[in-house]
């Protein structure tokens, strides 16, 4: 099928694409040297190149939160950032939350409260909840719901997610 009107500027044809280059990420306390194209997102770098597939790709457009990771302790969507921009940052993914066999209190609380069904959104929910607690702006269930709204759960485990977070929030001093 041909289009009769020009709808989009053509991609620059003879453009020389930059070669993949060295990018070093600091993930869960380890330095990881990668050779990747400069347009590789942090999410794709983690999943496809560093083989840390715990971080999930849901929408790839910042709309679902499945790709949430912590950047220097702050939660961000890894699908809307480039890996090459994070060489000076400490990235924490779901793989970095537990200490050995000891689960992060939020991980334990998610199990105790049955806060997931299929589990696809869960790594993002957990990293987001870690960020939420360290930000310290949520006190009530209402505030938790609002400040967890960047994480969509297709299975609608929302009420249990809120109660798991509430338990940890009220239980103990936080660790990053």
């Amino acid at each position: 099928m041909t289009t009769t009107f020009p709808i989009n500027p053509p991609a620059p044809a003879a453009l020389l694409l930059p070669e993949p280059g060295p990018v070093t990420l600091h993930v869960n306390g380890q330095s990881i040297a990668l050779t990747i194209a400069p347009w590789t997102t942090l999410l794709d770098a983690l999943r496809e190149h560093a083989h840390l597939s715990g971080t999930k790709k849901g929408c790839d457009h910042g709309q679902c939160g499945a790709c949430t990771v912590l950047m220097n302790g702050t939660r961000i969507n890894s699908c809307l950032s480039l890996a090459v921009m994070h060489q000076d940052d400490e990235i924490t993914t779901i793989e970095g939350l537990a200490h050995g066999d000891e689960l992060h209190p939020l991980q334990q609380a998610f199990i105790d409260h049955d806060a997931f069904q299929c589990g696809y959104c869960t790594p993002g929910q957990l990293c987001s909840a870690v960020g939420l607690l360290s930000e310290g702006h949520a006190r009530t269930a209402e505030e938790i719901r609002e400040l967890m709204s960047g994480n969509i759960c297709r299975c609608a485990a929302y009420p249990h997610i809120v109660s798991a977070i509430q338990e940890v929030m009220h239980a103990q001093p936080l660790r990053p």
Binding site: T3, F5, I7, A11, N77, L82, M85, S149
Partner: protein
């Protein structure tokens, strides 16, 4: 570095990346080069000698909204930023990028359809299409898109000033002149020139911290763009309005203000009877399209609601 960025197609600045990378994945934006500006020293919030506040272009939306001076003096701005996007996005999105974010018109995003903003001269898919999210004020035959930012609605109400640095030096652009109406050049969202960089946004001393509100109406209560939003700032003395600011989001190609409508509130008692004429003046000339005519009545009601909320707030 600035000259690197003077070709609008070839090079783009990247700040948080939350809008640009999304548009690149959709092939709406196809820059050959990105210039990462994150190491520039534009990440501070500083007090100005005139009693105002300077927000660095690279301060994140979250750090801006939760900053004690913003919370204390400009709660309208804080409330407005926190009504937008999600916590993760606000942690990454920058103040400069927020001003520069592009429309959410479905046809702008879909490269299989015509769009004068994306490809000048190709036509407007939204005009005869599904235009529920489109504008009702200041539209043109070329484009009926809206500017999607919440933050910019508060910045317009507060009469913030954008600080810009470019190949030809530095200049300032008042918020009212920063974004533009589409006219027959809808590909130009704003008046920033190629190669110009936003360095900061200056807030005047007057913060309307006593009587303010941001009312955002949308399809779900969080994590959605505004269908209609209203930012209000009022000053009151002995029950009479002495100063009023009103800006609308979700209805036009720029935050929508009409100082004449605001002037009608001045000297008036803060009572609903005063509002009708103000609403009419602010929305004069509005026009609904096939799927968004509901926005006119929604805006009428939202303005009245927001004014009473702002009055009843006791800070």
């Amino acid at each position: 570095m600035l000259t690197e960025a003077t070709d609008p197609i070839a090079t783009r600045f990247i700040a948080g990346g939350t809008n640009l990378l999304d548009l690149m994945k959709q092939q709406v934006e196809q820059p050959a080069k990105l210039v990462d500006i994150n190491r520039l020293p534009l990440s501070a919030i500083t007090e100005l000698p005139n009693g105002g506040l300077r927000l660095g272009a690279l301060v994140t939306n979250a750090d801006t909204a939760y900053h004690p001076l913003v919370q204390g003096r400009y709660p309208l701005l804080a409330q407005t930023i926190l009504a937008g996007a999600s916590p993760q996005l606000r942690n990454k999105a920058t103040n400069g990028g927020n001003l520069m974010q592009r429309t959410r018109c479905y046809y702008f995003y879909d490269v299989a359809t015509p769009c004068n903003k994306r490809m000048p001269g190709s036509g407007c898919g939204a005009l005869g299409g599904y235009n529920r999210v489109c504008g009702i004020l200041g539209t043109s035959e070329s484009c009926i898109a809206t500017h999607p930012s919440d933050m910019c609605v508060a910045l317009a109400a507060l009469e913030a000033v954008v600080q810009v640095s470019g190949p030809h030096g530095e200049r300032t652009i008042p918020m009212a002149d920063f974004h533009r109406l589409p006219g027959n050049e809808p590909h130009r969202d704003n008046t920033l020139l190629p190669g110009e960089l936003i360095t900061a946004i200056d807030l005047p001393a007057q913060g309307f911290a006593q009587h303010y509100t941001y009312l955002k109406l949308r399809d779900r209560t969080s994590y959605a763009f505004a269908l209609v939003s209203v930012a209000v700032g009022l000053e009151l003395t002995d029950g009479l309005i002495t100063q009023a600011r009103l800006a609308l989001g979700g209805v036009a190609h720029k935050p929508w203000r009409r100082p004449a409508a605001e002037a009608m509130l001045v000297g008036q008692p803060a009572e609903p009877e005063t509002y009708r004429a103000v609403v009419q003046s602010l929305l004069a000339g509005s026009r609904g399209y096939d799927h968004n005519a509901f926005k006119i009545e929604l805006a009428e009601r939202a303005i009245v609601q927001a004014l009473s909320q702002a009055l009843n707030r006791s800070a």
